[in-house]
C-alpha cells in the first residue's frame, strides 16, 4: 500500500446529526449540481445513483423509547483511502492540495475494485447511460462532465466549486490557496436549511470547521479501520456516536 500525502489544506465537513431531519434537500441539490440523472424508479437503493445518501439510524429500542437520527453520507475523502491504491489505472487519486479524492471518469475502466474496497458505499457505478426527460438536459450545469455508462463516480465535495473559488480569488488578486471560510462550500452544505453541514478547511483555524471537528462530540465513521476520513459527524446522543463505528460489547464509545 502506498503512503499518502499530507496536505496544508484539508477540506472537511462537520455534520451535526442532531440538526439533520432527513428532508432530502441535500440529495436533490447534489443531483442538480453534479449533473446526476434522475431515475423513474429509484426504489432499488442498491442501483440508484446518488453521491450523497441520507441513512436512517435508529437506537433500536421499541416504542416509546425509540429515537431516530438521519446521517447524510457523502464521500468521506479519506486521508488513507482504501479505494485509491487499488485502482489499476490511477483513475482515482488523492494528490491535490485540499485532500479531495479525485475520480477521473475518462480514465476509469469500470472494474469496480474501488467500490469493493469502500466500506461507506460512497462509490457508484453507471449501470446504464444516464438519461434525462426530454429537454431536462438543458438544465445541466457546465461545471461537471456527464458520465457515460460503465464508469465509477462519487462525491467530489463539489470540487468544481473549489476551482471556481480559486479562480475568483485569482481575478480579485487574492491568494487562491488561502480561501476565506465560506468562499468554497459544497452544494449540500449550501442547500441544507437546518445548517447541519459545516464545510471548510479543517487545518485552518480561521475556518469554523477547524474547531468543530475537535469537539467532544465529534466522531468519524469507522475510525478504527484506519481510513482517516475528512468528514466528521457530531452528535450529543451517545447511541448515535456508537453507531459511527463497530464496538464490541465491552468497549466504550468516545465523547
Amino acid at each position: 500500500m502506498s503512503s499518502f500525502k499530507e496536505f496544508k489544506i484539508k477540506w472537511g465537513m462537520a455534520i451535526d446529526l442532531d440538526k439533520c431531519t432527513g428532508c432530502g434537500a441535500c440529495m436533490v441539490a447534489c443531483q442538480a449540481e453534479n449533473n446526476i440523472a434522475p431515475q423513474p424508479d429509484a426504489s432499488n437503493k442498491l442501483k440508484s445513483l446518488n453521491w450523497l445518501v441520507v441513512y436512517e439510524l435508529t437506537n433500536g429500542k421499541p416504542f416509546p423509547e425509540h429515537e431516530v437520527a438521519y446521517l447524510p453520507r457523502p464521500c468521506m475523502q479519506c486521508g488513507k483511502p482504501s479505494c485509491v491504491s487499488v485502482c489499476p489505472v490511477i483513475a482515482t487519486d488523492k494528490n491535490e492540495e485540499g485532500g479531495i479524492v479525485s475520480q477521473v471518469y475518462p480514465r476509469c475502466i469500470g472494474c469496480r475494485y474501488c467500490m469493493a474496497s469502500c466500506p461507506y458505499h460512497a462509490r457508484y457505478f453507471n449501470w446504464f447511460d444516464p438519461t434525462w426527460p426530454e429537454g431536462m438536459d438543458k438544465t445541466l450545469t457546465p461545471d461537471v462532465s456527464v458520465r457515460p455508462r460503465g464508469v465509477v463516480e462519487k462525491c467530489s465535495f463539489c470540487h468544481h466549486r473549489f476551482m471556481q473559488a480559486k479562480d475568483k480569488a485569482r481575478v480579485e488578486g487574492r491568494d487562491p490557496n488561502a480561501l476565506n471560510d465560506g468562499d468554497y462550500i459544497t452544494s449540500c452544505t449550501e442547500a441544507c436549511p437546518n445548517g447541519a453541514i459545516v464545510f471548510g478547511d479543517v487545518n485552518n483555524p480561521a475556518h469554523k470547521v477547524h474547531d468543530l471537528v475537535k469537539g467532544k462530540y465529534a466522531f468519524r465513521l469507522l475510525e478504527r479501520l484506519g481510513t482517516d476520513p475528512q468528514v466528521y459527524y457530531i452528535s450529543r446522543r451517545e447511541w448515535v456516536r456508537r453507531l459511527g463505528d463497530n464496538y464490541l460489547e465491552n468497549e466504550k464509545v468516545k465523547g
Partner: protein, 211 residues
C-alpha cells in the same frame, strides 16, 4: 471428398517447392502499410473545415492595437468567456468599418441578425477537462518567463496574432476533436515540471484539470 482433402493436404506438403518470391512480398507488404499508415490514414481520420468568417487577428492586433484579453475576456467571477459574442463584436462593428468584404459579410449576416458565429475552436477540450485561464496568467508565468501576452497564449493556442486568416480546422472523425486539441501529456510539459510547483502553485494532481 476424400480426394479433395488429400489434394489439399498434398499441396501443403509440397509447399516447400513453391516457396518463391524470397523476401519481396514481405517488403511490398511493409511499404504498402507504411504508406497507408503514415500518409493515407491521417488524411482519412480528419475532416477539414474552414472558419465561417475569415477573421484577421493581425488587423485587430496591429491596426487596431488590441490585446488578446480585450476580446477573450476573463469574467469577474474568474470564468473565461472564450470567444467574443456577436454583441461584443458589434461594439465596434455595428456598421461596416473597413473595405474587407468578409467584414461586410459579418456585419450583414451576423451583427444585423444577432446570430452568433459558429467559430471552430482549435483547442476545444473534452467536458472532463477543467482549464482555468485565470490560473495561467501573465503574472504567474512571468515570474520566471518573459512572455508577451500573445506568446503566452501561443504556448497552447495556434499563434494567430500575426495571421491574416484563420488556419484550417482539422476535425478528428472518430473523437470529434480538433487535431490541435492538447493531449494530457502536453499539459504535463508544465504541470509535471517540478520547477513550476513552488512558483505557480501548480501541481500535476488529477483534479487540478479534471471535472
Amino acid at each position: 471428398m476424400e480426394d479433395r482433402q488429400l489434394n489439399s493436404s498434398g499441396c501443403a506438403t509440397d509447399g516447400g517447392k513453391c516457396c518463391g518470391g524470397g523476401i519481396t512480398p514481405f517488403l511490398v507488404g511493409l511499404v504498402v502499410s507504411l504508406i497507408f499508415g503514415w500518409w493515407v490514414f491521417p488524411d482519412m481520420l480528419y475532416s477539414k473545415k474552414e472558419q465561417p468568417i475569415r477573421f484577421s487577428h493581425k488587423v485587430h492586433m496591429e491596426s487596431a492595437g488590441m490585446e488578446c484579453k480585450q476580446c477573450h475576456v476573463l469574467r469577474e467571477d474568474g470564468t473565461f468567456a472564450g470567444l467574443p459574442s456577436t454583441a461584443s463584436c458589434a461594439d465596434c462593428h455595428s456598421d461596416v468599418m473597413g473595405s474587407d468584404p468578409e467584414e461586410a459579410r459579418f456585419v450583414n449576416e451576423y451583427v444585423k441578425t444577432g446570430k452568433e458565429v459558429k467559430w471552430l475552436v482549435y483547442q476545444i477540450q473534452p467536458d472532463n477537462v477543467f482549464f482555468s485561464h485565470a490560473a495561467h496568467s501573465l503574472d504567474g508565468c512571468n515570474q520566471c518567463h518573459d512572455f508577451k501576452e500573445s506568446e503566452l497564449c501561443a504556448q497552447c493556442h495556434p499563434d494567430v496574432a500575426n495571421s491574416d486568416s484563420a488556419p484550417t480546422h482539422f476535425e478528428n472523425k472518430l473523437t470529434g476533436y480538433s487535431k490541435q486539441t492538447m493531449k494530457m501529456w502536453q499539459c504535463e510539459r508544465c504541470h509535471a515540471n517540478e520547477n513550476h510547483y513552488g512558483v505557480t502553485n501548480s501541481s500535476n494532481a488529477c483534479f487540478v484539470c479534471h471535472k
